[in-house]
């Protein structure tokens, strides 16, 4: 079994300690950091993402896989920077103003990182202006908004309006998601993409970053 496959399989099982050892071993063997990332860590998270979409695994399995992947990424990061490896894209993500709930948002973030996307996490209770200012400052291709409550989801429409006001609407895509959000609502507020689960959100973000 190749070391990449071993890394991938251990990511899928959430074996953080083993992933850490294997990534270090791969580096010590002179394997390229980008390949360890893509064929080992990201490959493992991709499998978990697909299984999550199909209800073959659940939130705990995603969280432990993401934790395992993260231990490997931490070791690889300096090497990736040194080698000038580019991320798949750049996204800023947050839970909208008035809403402190972040479990869904964090899952999406993990899934996106599992696709090699650089994610700027703005946390919770994020104002439309903060979303847009961050997208401008960091050249994000995508703004990703999450909401748990029917009472706060309306703020997503304000993010779209703020992007229009700032003149970046044609440069940035806006994704929406969360418990009360639907495809219909996404269209109604003029956002670009709604996805119903975290793994699909990550797939969509990859497409939108292209």
């Amino acid at each position: 079994m190749s070391i990449y496959l071993e890394i991938s399989e251990n990511v899928q099982c959430g074996k953080a300690k083993i992933v850490k050892e294997l990534v270090q071993k791969a580096i010590d063997n002179g394997l390229p950091a980008a390949q360890i990332l893509n064929e080992g860590l990201i490959s493992g998270m991709n499998v978990i993402g697909e299984k999550f979409k199909n209800n073959e695994v659940y939130v705990p399995e995603v969280l432990i896989a993401a934790r395992a992947m993260d231990t490997g990424v931490k070791i690889l990061k300096p090497l990736l920077i040194e080698d000038g490896v580019q991320s798949t894209g750049k996204v800023c993500i947050g839970t909208v103003q008035g809403d402190m709930h972040d479990i869904g948002k964090n899952l999406v973030k993990m899934m996106m990182e599992g696709k090699g996307i650089e994610v700027i996490d703005l946390g919770t209770d994020v104002s439309p202006k903060t979303f847009v200012d961050t997208a401008i400052e960091h050249n994000c291709q995508v703004i990703c908004c999450s909401a748990l409550l029917t009472t706060t989801m309306e703020v997503m429409g304000d993010v779209v309006k703020e992007a229009e006001r700032a003149g970046i609407r044609d440069k940035v895509k806006i994704m929406v998601g969360g418990a009360p959000v639907t495809e219909e609502f996404c269209k109604q507020i003029g956002a670009d993409k709604y996805t119903s689960d975290a793994a699909s959100a990550a797939d969509a973000a990859v497409e939108l970053c292209r």
Partner: protein, 372 residues
């Protein structure tokens, strides 16, 4: 007929003169809105709790018959609780607080939302053995035996009253956060998560037993769980079944021994994948059957499990924020479920800010007119 007779008859497929107009309480922010609009007196807008005199006064003003959430409690949480501590104030004004269950939450003034969970205490065997396990033990003071002994005489005879029989997993989730629960499930100490559940469940069982042994009679028993979200359960149904099924069975068998044949469970989100574990182990009533963005779940459950599966809830409360046409459409939809029997409509959770007072009055009046 009293509302108790109406509700119990419907849930037992017997005749009733009409449907009771049942609700599941309010967000306090809504009551403040209504008070500001002059719809209810100011003194009813503060300190709301289910099934209190204040709640009953709101029932009278609005036209409800009763709040379904009327249960008697034992002290079946961790005890003593942790001392709540403010850990730091963040630059954005939010406070990081260690709550009384040992979870670090981030709370922001003026925001009515579930707080975000930053961290948690229960991370390993040592913490469990030293800080949590001693707090999960049964002791007689957990149950007010004198209160339960005289319960049958002093209880409200006109409405259903239940016994809250706890939570097998939801409370563990509350103690550990979603992230923490997930990590514990896959801890290197493979028995740890099961030990936590087993210890907590045994204490809760003893509480139920002590309350029932007093001779107190209840119309139903009730669990709270909230372990599902819009895409299904927060954990694998297989793991859930393996760890939790036996506890439901033991507690539910005990309730049946004492004559309680309606055992309801409150779990928001898409519950379909956990229903087999609940139903096969004695839970027979879904409540409040959240509609969310996925739609009704009761009809499918009835089709799968048959007439043994009962329901209270399933009314899309967001219709009460829209207009009369939306409420009428919702009542039309509910008629189908009522016609199946063993089902009482109720808003699918607490009424939230933006709910229109007049629409709630209208719904409460109209729901009573549905033909049984």
């Amino acid at each position: 007929m009293t509302n108790r007779e109406r509700a119990m008859n419907i849930l037992h497929y017997k005749d009733a003169d009409r449907l009771p107009a049942v609700h599941f309480g309010y967000w306090v922010e809504l009551l403040r809105e209504w008070a500001e609009q002059g719809k209810i007196p100011q003194d009813l807008a503060w300190g709301y709790m289910d099934s209190t005199e204040q709640d009953k006064e709101l029932d009278r003003i609005i036209g409800w018959d009763f709040n379904w959430c009327c249960t008697e409690y034992t002290n079946n949480a961790i005890y003593p609780k942790f001392e709540e501590k403010e850990l730091e104030i963040m630059p954005d004004g939010s406070r990081r607080v260690l709550n009384n269950l040992g979870v670090i939450e981030r709370i922001k003034p003026g925001i009515a939302s579930i707080p975000s969970e930053d961290d948690y205490t229960l991370k390993d065997r040592e913490v469990f053995e030293t800080l949590y396990k001693p707090r999960m033990q049964y002791f007689p003071d957990r149950v007010d035996l004198e209160y339960f002994k005289s319960f049958n005489e002093k209880r409200d005879q006109t409405r259903p009253v239940g016994l809250h029989i706890g939570s097998v997993l939801g409370s563990i989730r509350d103690m550990t956060s979603v992230v923490g629960m997930s990590y514990l499930m896959y801890d290197e100490d493979e028995d740890l998560f099961a030990d936590i559940i087993d210890n907590f469940a045994e204490m809760q069982y003893q509480c139920v037993k002590a309350a029932l042994e007093t001779g107190a009679k209840f119309d139903f028993a009730h669990y709270w769980e909230d372990i599902c979200f819009k895409n299904g359960p927060l954990l694998s149904p297989e793991i859930f079944d393996e760890l939790c099924a036996k506890h439901y069975k033991k507690r539910n068998d005990l309730c049946r021994e004492y004559g309680i044949d309606i055992i309801s469970l409150d779990c928001d989100g898409v519950t379909e994948k956990l229903l087999p574990t609940w139903f096969e182990n004695g839970v027979n009533t879904m409540f409040p059957i959240e509609i969310g963005v996925w739609g009704d779940q009761f009809e499918a459950a009835r089709n799968e499990f048959g007439r043994g599966m009962l329901g209270v809830g399933g009314m899309d409360k967001t219709a009460l924020r829209r207009d009369k046409a939306a409420v009428d459409a919702e009542i039309e939809r509910l008629k189908r479920l009522v016609a199946m029997g063993g089902f009482i409509p109720c808003p699918d959770h607490r009424l939230m800010p933006g709910t229109k007072f007049e629409l709630v009055q209208y719904y409460a009046e109209e729901i009573k007119k549905i033909k049984l």
